[in-house]
């Protein structure tokens, strides 16, 4: 018979045991029945959650930072880290969208709103030891705004400067006027800078609090050149924040350590490790085992499990976004208010929130979230009422021609405000069918077609959303309704038009008001007008959850940032 068979089986067993031994990770020739008195062996053999270093907080997120120079980043993964490294003239009061003095301790404005004089905080240094002063502030502003600045690298974008300040130095609009809000900046003395504007900008202080406008050490940027903010930089980064970069292992983790020379309160935890775990389920399992201490970007299906797990605390950040259904008023019958009201009454938003979200969303009654000032508490949302919807639909058909098929754009991929866009689209399609509106869902490729098509007004109805940048209502409302593109209305040539001229005028004026109370009142009025004229149906505000181990304390949920400076492990 085949006497070799046991030998072959032995070979297979040997192969198996080799793997098992490698897996155990201990000495390859000595699988110990009792733990050897070494840290690694104890961790390997104990099935319970390992005790993590109390001086190292490990926070996991799905992707690595692209760069640690906030001036050139747009992704949340980079900003998650840079919030801890850099500071700006103002900052958001923790947990809110209100601003407070930070590296600027005080400021004054000229009567025409075109000159802002900032008094700088004294005793502040960058992580490389160089002083933070007026010259450094001027250098940074010039680097951000002037393409000719030697450290404004040609293949960098400085995107958020362009977004928030509308252009770079020297850019002119069609009328030959400077596009940029900022005309220039000068150092009056070592602790005073004067910022000169081309036109008043009410959101200025909100913009300056954004993570993108934290100051870098000029010496550090010049030393690293185009490698600044990358793993090849030397230094990688140098802000004034409570943490500085200790190590960056690309695509694996970034470790930041408390900066000894920080001007303010020392952070609660000496080190934070921003660990990259791309898959949401794997990230959650790492948290459940105690390998990490916190995480963001939680899969909706993990939220319920987390809530039942005593070792995990679920924290919902205040929503800073909106998901909505938009009407293209350039296409009949959507220029008719009764048709829009019919749709507004046909959608059961609460059922959508209860079914398609995991307790991390609320019904939206307005096109900006409640966390923003200017939110109108007095607005009563259009109720889900089929009788009213049908009545409005009857009037709609009498006044306008409803096409046999309405083109309905639905995002093909998950977005942070719509975790289940396909299901949502089908839900709304069924709701509209119930009042006699037949829709054809189109979901062109997100990466190349969806948004360009929406901006070009190729749809009749569309689903989209928005996440706020700076806590200013203008960042939501004028973005939608000031006619910059043809999403909500357009002319025959396809150029964008505001859905309401009156609303457009109100929003543009509100952006220039210097009095905060007057601005807030203007935006409350705008929200009421948006509610009454129904250019869109706001659907949800989603509160992104953040998970921590139960022994982690001190986190303040915020609509604009994830700051771990005051977080500690008990």
């Amino acid at each position: 018979m085949l006497r070799f068979a046991p030998r072959a089986a032995q070979s297979a067993c040997l192969a198996l045991s080799l793997v098992a031994l490698a897996a155990c990770g201990g000495e390859p020739t000595a699988p110990p029945p009792e733990p050897v008195a070494e840290e690694i062996s104890t961790v390997e053999l104990e099935p319970a959650a390992p005790a993590t270093d109390p001086e190292r907080l490990i926070f996991a997120h799905p992707d690595d930072a692209t760069k640690l120079d906030p001036a050139d980043v747009t992704d949340s993964e980079s900003l998650l880290v840079t919030w801890h490294l850099y500071e700006g003239l103002t900052r958001y009061v923790p947990g809110t969208t209100e601003i407070e003095p930070w590296l600027a301790t005080a400021w004054t404005t000229s009567d025409d709103g075109l000159e802002w004089t900032f008094t700088l905080r004294e005793g502040v240094t960058f992580h490389d030891g160089t002083p933070f002063d007026a010259e450094a502030v001027v250098w940074n502003f010039q680097r951000w705004s002037d393409k000719a600045h030697p450290m404004h690298f040609a293949d960098w974008e400085f995107t958020y400067w362009e977004y928030m300040f509308q252009g770079f130095a020297g850019d002119l609009d069609d009328a030959g006027e400077p596009k940029s809000v900022v005309a220039g900046i000068e150092a009056v003395d070592p602790t005073t800078v004067k910022l000169t504007l081309n036109r008043p900008s009410a959101p200025l202080l909100q913009n300056l609090a954004m993570g993108n406008f934290g100051f870098s050490s000029p010496a550090a940027v010049e030393a690293s050149g185009a490698n600044y903010g990358t793993p090849a930089g030397n230094p990688i980064s140098a802000g004034t924040g409570p943490y500085m970069v200790e190590e960056w292992m690309a695509d694996d983790h970034i470790t930041v350590v408390a900066y000894d020379g920080y001007w303010g309160d020392a952070p609660e935890t000496v080190r934070i490790e921003f660990s990259v775990i791309p898959d949401g389920s794997a990230r959650y399992l790492s948290l459940a085992t105690g390998e990490i201490d916190g995480m963001n970007q939680v899969n909706p299906e993990d939220i319920a499990q987390a809530e039942e797990n005593d070792d995990i605390a679920v924290v919902l950040e205040p929503a800073n976004n909106v998901g909505y259904l938009g009407f293209n008023q350039a296409h009949a019958p959507w220029d008719n208010l009764n048709c829009r009201l019919a749709v507004a009454h046909a959608i059961d938003k609460q059922a959508i929130v209860d079914t398609l979200y995991a307790g991390d969303a609320v019904v939206a009654s307005q096109m900006m979230p409640p966390s923003l000032w200017g939110y109108n508490e007095g607005i009563e949302d259009w109720p889900n009422d089929l009788d009213a919807a049908n009545a409005y639909m009857t009037t709609c058909r009498a006044e306008a021609t409803v096409p046999d098929e309405v083109v309905f754009y639905v995002p093909p991929i998950q977005r942070f405000y719509f975790p289940k866009p396909k299901e949502l689209g089908e839900w709304i399609q069924a709701s509209l069918a119930g009042i006699g509106i037949v829709t054809r869902i189109e979901s062109p490729e997100w990466g190349s077609t969806y948004i360009p098509d929406v901006r070009a007004g190729k749809h009749d109805l569309f689903l989209l959303g928005w996440g706020g940048d700076n806590g200013d209502p203008d960042n939501f409302l004028c973005q939608f309704f000031c006619g910059a593109d043809a999403s909500f209305n357009g002319d025959a040539e396809g150029n964008g038009l505001p859905p309401s001229v009156e609303l457009d005028t109100l929003l543009r004026e509100a952006a220039t008001l210097s009095d905060q109370a007057a601005r807030a009142a203007a935006y409350e009025q705008a929200n009421a007008m948006i509610h009454d004229t129904v250019p869109s149906v706001p659907l949800v505000h989603r509160s992104p959850p953040v998970l921590f181990r139960s022994n982690v304390t001190g986190y303040t949920p915020s609509p604009l940032q994830t700051i771990l400076t005051r977080v500690a492990k008990q």
Binding site: A5, A23, D53
Partner: protein, 333 residues
């Protein structure tokens, strides 16, 4: 043999030219990186500015010629998303993928070859059936599911392994090759070696199942054919022990197709296992390239295509050269 090898290496160049051109063509007609960079902030003006900045408004032949010009200088360009030199990112990610691929292939060979031999030697027995069921399950099981199950069972429930990553927090290692296991050996860092192997075990196990199953099946088929040859009957008739018959005479002649499959599978593994890398937070090339494709990060995609194509060609060459070593009848050149 040397002239054969050199000739084959030189032939890589025209292959790469063709592959990169086709890739450039496909990527160009499927969109640009605007939406990946801008998201909901997309506007016509901003997208135009990006297209102008990256020369995407130029005609395709002009863009391609510009790209080839940088390539000839050894410059893969800069990532559109991260702005970093692509070659730097490649240098970071390729060793991670290579380490995982080699570990997975080792496991696949250690399991697959003996399994195939046993199945062939006990042909039509319960052992044969069992072995082939194992192979069938291995090749059928979705890697994504298997990886999650391994993480859930062995890492989460039993705590025997970490859930992901290449090294534990706080474990330092001096990077020489980027292969953590090798670097730990070269620097005599026992702690890092144990930790690196500990982290490598689960993803390597998950990734090895499909190639292991293929190798088992092809080994069995090849061994059956070999065992049916006349010279095997002669060897047995001469009274040789069965181990020598199978291991010395049958196996050696059965290995040619097995080596081919191993080579092909190794090429596939080195192309990067996206799902495994994603689930185990393994910072390799697979996930990097897939994200680059969806973001239309053309320089990164092109670099990936060039690397993968080169890997396949080199592996095919190694396989061909190994034929000559395994079978004295094979003459190369």
């Amino acid at each position: 043999m040397l002239s054969y090898v050199v000739r084959r290496l030189v032939l890589i160049v025209p292959s790469l030219v063709g592959i990169t051109f086709v890739t450039y063509l496909f990527l160009s007609v499927t969109g640009d990186p605007c939406t990946a960079l801008l998201g909901e902030r997309w506007t016509v003006d901003r997208c135009d500015a990006i297209r102008e900045k990256y020369g995407l408004n130029d005609r395709l032949p002009v863009q391609y010629a510009r790209y080839v010009g940088t390539l000839v200088r050894g410059d893969f360009g800069h990532s559109v998303l991260t702005k970093r030199p692509v070659v730097d990112e490649l240098r970071e990610k390729f060793p991670a993928t290579a380490e995982l691929a080699m570990a997975a292939m080792m496991l696949a060979v250690l399991f697959g070859v003996p399994l195939g031999i046993v199945a062939a030697a006990r042909h039509n027995s319960g052992v044969d059936l069992g072995a082939m069921i194992v192979a069938l399950v291995g090749v059928s099981m979705p890697v994504f599911w298997l990886a999650l199950m391994l993480i859930y069972a062995l890492a989460y429930r039993l705590g025997l392994f970490p859930t992901g990553g290449r090294l534990s927090s706080g474990v330092a290692i001096d990077t020489i090759t980027g292969l953590h296991v090798l670097d730990a050996v070269l620097t005599a860092n026992g702690k890092a070696l144990r930790d690196a192997l500990h982290h490598l075990a689960l993803p390597a196990m998950a990734l090895s199942t499909i190639p292991g199953a293929f190798i088992a099946r092809i080994t069995r088929s090849s061994m059956l054919e070999s065992l049916g040859q006349d010279y095997i009957r002669t060897a047995r008739a001469k009274g040789l022990r069965e181990l020598r018959v199978v291991g010395r005479h049958a196996l050696a002649n059965a290995l040619l197709p097995v080596v081919t499959v191993i080579g092909l599978q190794m090429g596939l593994l080195l192309s990067g296992a996206v799902l495994t890398e994603t689930l185990f937070a393994w910072p390799g090339m697979g996930r990097w390239i897939v994200e680059a494709i969806s973001s239309k990060d053309i320089p990164v995609v092109q670099a990936g295509v060039i690397v993968f194509a080169t890997v396949f060609v080199v592996i095919n060459l190694v396989v061909d050269v190994s034929y000559a070593w395994l079978d004295p009848r094979v003459r190369l050149g």
